[in-house]
Symmetry: C2
Subunit: 554 residues, 2 copies
């Protein structure tokens, strides 16, 4: 039997920002005991995943080893860390550990999926720990943009791992625990084998700013506005909601929460005791009786999500409330790459209404939830690990983060999804690559990214679709073949109807085809498909997707 | 007969950045003589226009009045100003005027489309003018990011219009004419009725920087690199190509041009005498014999275009050249909103190769080609028009630009596409709204944005497609109906094949249907479509697009 080793294996979240899922294992090769940290989602787009609802890591590798899987740990309740829990849990079926606020939201997800919420177990903050096979895991509080975010302190027979989760070094985060350097120094005192570390903001060259710095500016902004003020941020950023609501309250305004996600998060905050002192909110109905210059809306959908409150307000009324000339809308948020067009569409719609839009271009009304370059360096210095494994970043972030570590003599490795890294020795050692796929939630079904289903949909979106029908009896054509098109122009360059030209060409072919062709469905299918694509290419400059239906009467 | 008036009517480019097309008319209502300024394109995306090749203004309104159209004027050779010329010219068939470099590229477009290049007529710079009906039009040089960009000085019986085109106030633009305030002061001396003005950078709060400012920093960057250096920018930004190539040359490197667009632009620059002193370039083949640290590539595709040289290099070799660990890639460009994901994909691919990517995040390696807020104010002050019409901007830009003018007492109006504005009086007056549509080049065919063709393709991308076939003889079903699916999962929540469940449900329906249903193609089509959508919704949580094919044997 081979020697025991300590393995790190990202299945998601390394080489991308999203769908976090990290495996750790301890034991001899092929007999390791495993835990998984986070089960998150990433969001689809029209470019690569039209019609898909959610994207998550493929956990087939993990499911095959389910008998050796000890537990799932969730660092915090952002969707890219917890969003796939209810989808993937049935494949894994082991206990899930999280702190109270995260567990609260996890249970709601399990219930909505018809699963047992009691599979989610609440753990208190470090120094409390959970034993899971050879692992002992504690939830050490970090500051981030959602309450009770935690770094994991993972003790193994091969030493201690610090897995940061998402974090920043905020000394006064408003809601949640401040960065506690004394605690981390104590955690690191006896040596840390590996620091597995958030890389999101590695390119930000200045130390991060605190949540507490933006409140006064927001209050000043609100106080100066003559009309209604609305503001959006991530619904889960409860600290920001509080910052915004308190600034509004100090500026003499009543607070209205618009959007399911926003109400759900504030409720979760109140129920778990995190948000005891949130300003009193009024209902959208009661808002009608309050003068506009005494109102402040907090709206969901800072990324331009089509169905969220922000987008709905940009299209007209939402729960009876409407923005007007002289009102102000604040984006207290950063637009995630890929969402620019949706956000800009909303800004222009507000512009058409005469609403002034204030965004974060100057950095005055938003701070990030992730540690910047200098903060990462500082944290490396506090933990002083033997090795650094950057995670939670695209390849460029991981690469820059490895460099940052190397600059102070810290050995590191770029380990994108599927890279199995042995953490046992003096420095990280890549031992294997496994195929790290993606699973799509597509309607109510989980499908694989490489199943070809979405690829076929993309092809229809680009090329349109033609159905060809032909009927044969005793291997002789009955009548003429015909075509139905979807997503193609009616007439081609010759001016004739596209369908007529295709049917004419198909008919000529079919009535001249030899017996060997006519008796073979494959040959007919292939030939008619080629004719349709060739004719369409000549007529409209496009080669459509084709479904050939051959019916044989008997 | 009504009095003569001067009308401004944007058909494209106002309320968006792209597909510029502006109409001016002079004369009594319904008997105006018209000119059009610019015929540009905007680019499609998967979100709204999958499979579309180009998007341009719908010129139906103009085509209906073709007998009263005098001429087309093109301000400069950027695709968003000239890209639709060859597509739309056949609908308009009037002379096209442009300066030499623009005309050169316009003729190439006409030739490629099989049209007569001699329809494009070359005009020298202001004070030369062209007479077109009641209009007298001069091309006054402005600085921008492509050579021979011009503002138009349009004299009419109702006074002078200054139509800026795209412009900035660059006193040393490298290639092309510097900003000439004396010329503009002279042009404005006897009064300008309306300033129709670029709004792209109205939100930029600092005065714009000159092209000449970035050369030294680029040279310093290149000189410090140990390996090959590649750089990308817009191919049409000949001044930048020269800035980059000269910096490379001074740093002791041979220049290689990669990409058809890049070679085409440099050739056009040389042929029209604009680029007489461009550094000598070596061919990709000869580059193989030059040490990597003596090479500099200029590559097309700064926006992440999939087939351009930059993207191809990020995927592997291009014309025998390959980037490696230790090489450097510079984006001397700004990423246009919507292109972030494509650009980031390339950056990560380079990161995987070990190539260091330098972007313009600090503003050190790129300057914009458009006038910033303070520059616009300065230009308003030079022209001192009676009224301001902001163009070349989304609604938010137009709105901010109107405000900027109003702040110094200049009356303006927000006039998005389709807004007919009377410029005759003391201030702009909106007199009518026409429907301003979009035309898509889709393969080789021009289709309308509202034809439903692209909508159907988007639906197939989101929902998949099912073909249902049923055969009837004398109003009785022959055999069972069957289904073919594209872009849908094979099995549903029950675990049974989706096609089997749908066929079973269709079969039950068909064999129980009454005669009234069976004799009606419409009723059968409708019923079977509903069954397929209902069954799919139950099985896979999606309602697919359905094509029903009913064959009746006779």
């Amino acid at each position: 039997m081979s020697e025991s080793r300590l393995i790190y294996l990202p299945l998601g979240g390394a080489g991308e920002i999203g769908m976090n899922a990290y495996v750790y294992s301890v034991g001899p090769e092929d007999d390791e005991r495993l835990i998984v940290v986070d089960l998150g989602v990433t969001f689809p787009d029209m470019d690569g995943t039209p019609g898909v609802d959610l994207i998550m890591a493929d956990v087939a590798w993990l499911a095959e080893r389910r008998d050796r899987l000890e537990a799932i740990f969730i660092t915090h309740a952002h969707e890219d860390h917890i969003g796939a829990l209810a989808q993937l849990w049935p494949k894994l079926r082991v206990p899930v550990y999280a702190r109270a606020f995260t567990a609260h939201l996890g249970r709601m997800k399990m219930e909505e999926a018809g699963l047992d919420p009691e599979e989610i177990r609440t753990v208190s903050a470090w120094p409390e720990t959970v034993k899971a096979g050879p692992f002992t895991v504690g939830f050490a509080p970090v500051s981030h943009s959602i309450p009770e975010s935690s770094g994991l302190v993972i003790d193994t027979p091969h030493g201690r791992i610090v897995h940061t989760g998402d974090f920043k070094l905020d000394l006064s985060p408003g809601v949640g625990e401040p960065y506690d350097e004394a605690m981390w120094t104590e955690i690191a005192r006896d040596g840390v084998q590996a620091l597995v570390c958030d890389s999101t903001n590695v390119f930000s060259p200045l130390p991060g700013r605190s949540e507490s710095e933006i409140g006064p500016g927001i209050e000043e902004l609100i106080a100066a506005q003559p009309g209604l003020v609305a503001a959006t941020t991530f619904a889960s950023n409860i600290a920001r909601l509080k910052t915004l609501a308190e600034a509004g309250q100090r500026a003499g305004r009543s607070i209205v929460l618009l959007g399911r996600a926003m109400r759900r998060m504030v409720t979760a905050g109140i129920e778990t005791g995190i948000l005891a002192d949130f300003p009193k909110v009024v209902s959208p109905e009661d808002a009608a009786d309050i003068p506009r210059d005494h109102l402040m809306l907090l709206t969901s959908g800072s990324q331009g999500e089509h169905r969220a409150a922000t987008a709905q307000l940009s299209r007209g009324k939402y729960l009876g409330i409407e923005l007007k000339e002289g009102d102000t809308f604040l984006f207290s948020s950063k637009t995630i790459p890929g969402n620019e067009k949706s956000v800009i569409r909303i800004v222009n719609a507000f512009s058409e209404m005469g609403v002034d839009v204030v965004d974060d271009s100057g950095g005055a009304y938003h701070v990030s939830g992730h540690a910047n370059g200098p903060d990462l360096e500082r944290f490396h210095g506090v933990i002083r690990p033997r090795m650094l494994i950057p995670m939670h970043g695209e390849h460029r972030h991981l690469r820059a983060h490895v460099r940052l570590g190397e600059a102070s003599g810290l050995p590191g490795v770029i380990a994108p999804n599927g890279t199995m890294v042995d953490l046992t020795g003096d420095r990280p050692r890549v031992v294997e690559h496994i195929e790290a796929g993606r699973t799509y939630k597509d309607g109510s079904i989980l499908i694989g990214a490489f199943d070809g289903i979405v690829r076929d949909r993309i092809r229809m979106a680009l090329n349109g679709h033609v159905t060809v029908t032909a009927i044969l009896e005793e291997d002789e054509p009955v009548g003429d073949p015909w075509c139905e098109v979807v997503g193609l122009p009616e007439t081609g360059v010759t001016g004739a109807p596209l369908v007529d030209v295709m049917e004419e060409d198909l008919s000529q072919f079919l009535h001249r085809a030899d017996r060997k062709t006519l008796i073979s469905d494959d040959k007919l299918d292939d030939a008619m498909r080629r004719i349709v694509r060739k004719t369409a290419s000549d007529e409209i400059g496009k080669k459509p997707e084709v479904t050939v239906v051959i019916s044989r009467l008997s």
